[in-house]
């Protein structure tokens, strides 16, 4: 806390929120100083993963429409932020998400089949073979944040060079839990990077109606931690600022907040109809700046991508998605015991008779 200035009136503190971008909507390079530019294979892998997320996403929506999947929240339009964050993280870091960030999960090795299982009503969808410490999707908005701070605290206590990356949406920044967590992370210099995916809509409420703040990034100012706003449809800049923030955290210099400006091109979930509350013109304008086209153009200009590569990748993704769908649809539901099996390490005697009752009636139901 600062001392009182010896003046009747002066400025107590001054803040600014930088904005950064690297690729324009038409794929022109706006900045050279991003690391992904030096790694063509990384650029290609990020683009491929964005394609895969988009193809998976469309398939998941179709499955829901045909009665083969429960309510599903589409990630359409936010693939750059999701994938680039995954690419910036290290395997040993820990990821906390909301419920849309499949691009990040896929990058970290979560099987598409698991994501289908989860939205298909099966807890086994949260089993992550390759990122076993990552938390599952978090549905109660903002509530993942204190847990993320706790995981970061564990890393700090043990002196490990690991970080926690926690996503939150624009809506989530209205929750007290968001502020509590970044405030605590700042006070303790915890290795926590928070990425706000500002997709402009908390279901039907636009960000302007959620807050009078000019940016969501500036909410970090009150927590005393650095923040930056970036073009969230630009995978290169999201990758860059996330790498910078993670490196900073890994060096023990504490948390930071990244606000990624993007757009939810789809309905909130398959249960929503966004035409009730936003205009077709707005959505059309958002399509003009969506994340995949610009990265493809950029890659093509650099000779890193072409139409045959595009077609081959789409085919390959579609096949992988179909294989995941087949595996999902052929997975039998869990036994009735599954409700009881993981309640506690051991089922208390008082619950054994309830399990027996559930078994009996499940057997009757066939």
């Amino acid at each position: 806390m600062s001392e009182r200035p010896a003046a009747a009136r002066t400025t107590a503190a001054r803040f600014e929120i930088p904005y950064r971008a690297c690729l324009s909507a038409d794929g022109r390079l706006l900045a050279e100083n991003v690391r992904a530019l030096a790694d063509p294979s990384l650029l290609q892998r990020m683009y491929r993963m964005m394609l895969r997320a988009r193809i998976f996403d469309a398939k998941a929506v179709n499955l829901q429409r045909t009665g083969k999947l429960g309510t599903y929240p589409s990630c359409l339009g936010q693939e750059a932020t999701h994938v680039a964050v995954g690419a910036a993280m290290r395997a040993e870091d820990v990821l906390f998400t909301v419920y849309r960030e499949i691009g990040t999960k896929f990058w970290r090795g979560v099987d598409m089949y698991r994501v289908l299982l989860y939205w298909g009503g099966d807890e086994r969808g949260t089993i992550y073979e390759h990122s076993a410490q990552d938390f599952p999707f978090c549905v109660p908005i903002g509530s993942q944040m204190p847990q993320a701070a706790g995981a970061a605290m564990a890393m700090k206590i043990r002196g490990e060079p690991r970080c926690v990356l926690a996503f939150i949406g624009d809506g989530g920044t209205s929750q007290g839990a968001f502020y509590e967590a970044i405030n605590f992370a700042g006070a303790r210099e915890l290795p926590l990077v928070c990425v706000i995916v500002n997709n402009r809509w908390a279901i039907s409420v636009p960000v302007e109606r959620q807050t009078a703040a000019q940016t969501l990034a500036q909410k970090a100012v009150a927590a005393g931690i650095p923040a930056v706003q970036v073009d969230g449809n630009d995978a290169l800049i999201v990758h860059q600022v996330t790498v910078e923030a993670l490196e900073r955290a890994r060096r023990g210099e504490g948390p930071s907040v990244i606000e990624a400006l993007t757009y939810r091109l789809a309905d909130h979930t398959t249960s929503d109809d966004a035409t009730r509350y936003r205009s077709a013109e707005e959505v059309q304008a958002a399509w003009a700046v969506e994340p995949l086209v610009r990265l493809r153009r950029f890659l093509e200009e650099r000779g890193l991508w072409d139409e045959p590569a595009e077609q081959a990748t789409k085919r390959e993704c579609a096949e992988q998605v179909e294989a995941a769908v087949r595996q999902y649809l052929s997975t039998p539901r869990q036994s009735t015991d599954a409700m009881f099996d993981y309640l506690l390490a051991e089922l208390p005697p008082a619950l054994q008779s309830q399990r027996d009752e559930a078994r009996r009636y499940a057997a009757l139901r066939g």
Partner: protein, 325 residues
């Protein structure tokens, strides 16, 4: 063996486990240099360092959520909520995450942690400092809820809670923190969790109770023993899951059940006990089950708190009425 209060025994259990398990970390408001508002964590930060005994900001949801993140990462948090009346901001973390993490990840991530908090009234504390809200927590599968009623049980049950592979809510009756001194061996011996304790054997009536009410129940049993009335007093101790075997055995033996708790009556743990005893031992009962509880009112400010908390007289009358049926 040293004679000590419950709060000293709680402190001693922390120290034992921190000395023997490097992964145990204490967190909460004012738990560090100040040693907690009731001094339950006094001296721990000096002994184990500020990395293992951490003051948190004043945010109960943050404390509970942070404990979940720590636990999932292999640290064993023993977190303090300063008073149970302040539990509400933490309920989202407790109910939506703490209680569910093992289940929703099919055992991939677990939540072995202890969330301690002072419970109940009787010490003339300000508004919101005297609540008995165990029912809020017992309604959530996936949690253990434990409430000790003596220094020795506080020591042994806290050790068991810290060693438990699942989240344990540990309710500490404020009225008993410094009520009595008892010899407690600092031997690291845990007491069984999920078990009742039979505090006094008897044959005419079973008093089933927990927390600070055990003291009043024992006084009532003692008083009526002079009249030849033999009361069994059972400290439920683990409020979720409940050891119904011990309770049912006792009721089958005595044929009469009086449930005593400080919490308000409606939808409370006593109602659950009454329902379960009715389901399993109705024909062994010689009289209707009776409850002596806090009223279904707001916990009053302290001038009236002893009008609210079940008194010895109410318990004695409850026993007599049940025996007269």
């Amino acid at each position: 063996m040293a004679k000590m209060t419950m709060v000293e025994a709680i402190n001693m259990a922390h120290a034992w486990e921190m000395a023997h398990d490097q992964s145990v970390v204490v967190l909460g408001e004012d738990v560090g240099i100040n040693g907690g508002v009731f001094r339950a964590t006094v001296g721990l930060q000096q002994r184990f360092g500020s990395a293992r005994v951490q003051d948190t900001p004043l945010a109960e949801g943050l404390i509970a959520g942070t404990a979940i993140g720590l636990a999932a990462q292999g640290i064993k948090p023993v977190a303090e909520i300063q008073f149970m009346g302040f539990i509400y901001p933490a309920l989202d973390q407790i109910a939506s995450h703490m209680a569910r993490l093992r289940n929703r990840t099919r055992g991939r991530l677990t939540c072995p942690l202890v969330l301690r908090m002072p419970h109940g009234g009787g010490i003339h504390a300000p508004e919101h400092h005297s609540e008995s809200l165990e029912a809020l927590l017992c309604h959530h599968p996936g949690l253990r809820v434990v409430c000790p009623s003596s220094p020795a049980r506080a020591y042994g049950l806290l050790l068991a809670a810290i060693r438990d592979p699942d989240p344990v809510i540990f309710l500490e009756p404020v009225r008993l923190y410094r009520f009595m001194r008892q010899e407690v061996a600092d031997d690291g011996q845990a007491l069984p969790i999920d078990s009742c304790f039979v505090l006094r054997e008897g044959s005419d009536l079973s008093i089933v109770t927990w927390g600070a009410m055990t003291v009043e129940a024992l006084k009532a049993a003692e008083q009526l023993a002079g009249e030849g009335i033999s009361c069994e007093v059972i400290d439920v101790a683990s409020l979720s899951p409940i050891d119904f075997d011990t309770i049912l055995d006792s009721v089958v033996k005595t044929g009469r059940l009086l449930i005593v708790h400080e919490a308000a009556r409606t939808c409370a743990v006593g109602a659950e006990i009454a329902a379960t005893v009715s389901e399993h031992a109705l024909y062994d009962l010689l009289a209707p089950i009776r409850r002596v509880t806090g009223y279904d009112t707001i916990m009053p400010l302290y001038r009236l708190e002893y009008d609210y908390i079940p008194s010895l007289a109410r318990i004695v009358d409850g026993i007599r009425a049940t025996l007269a049926e």
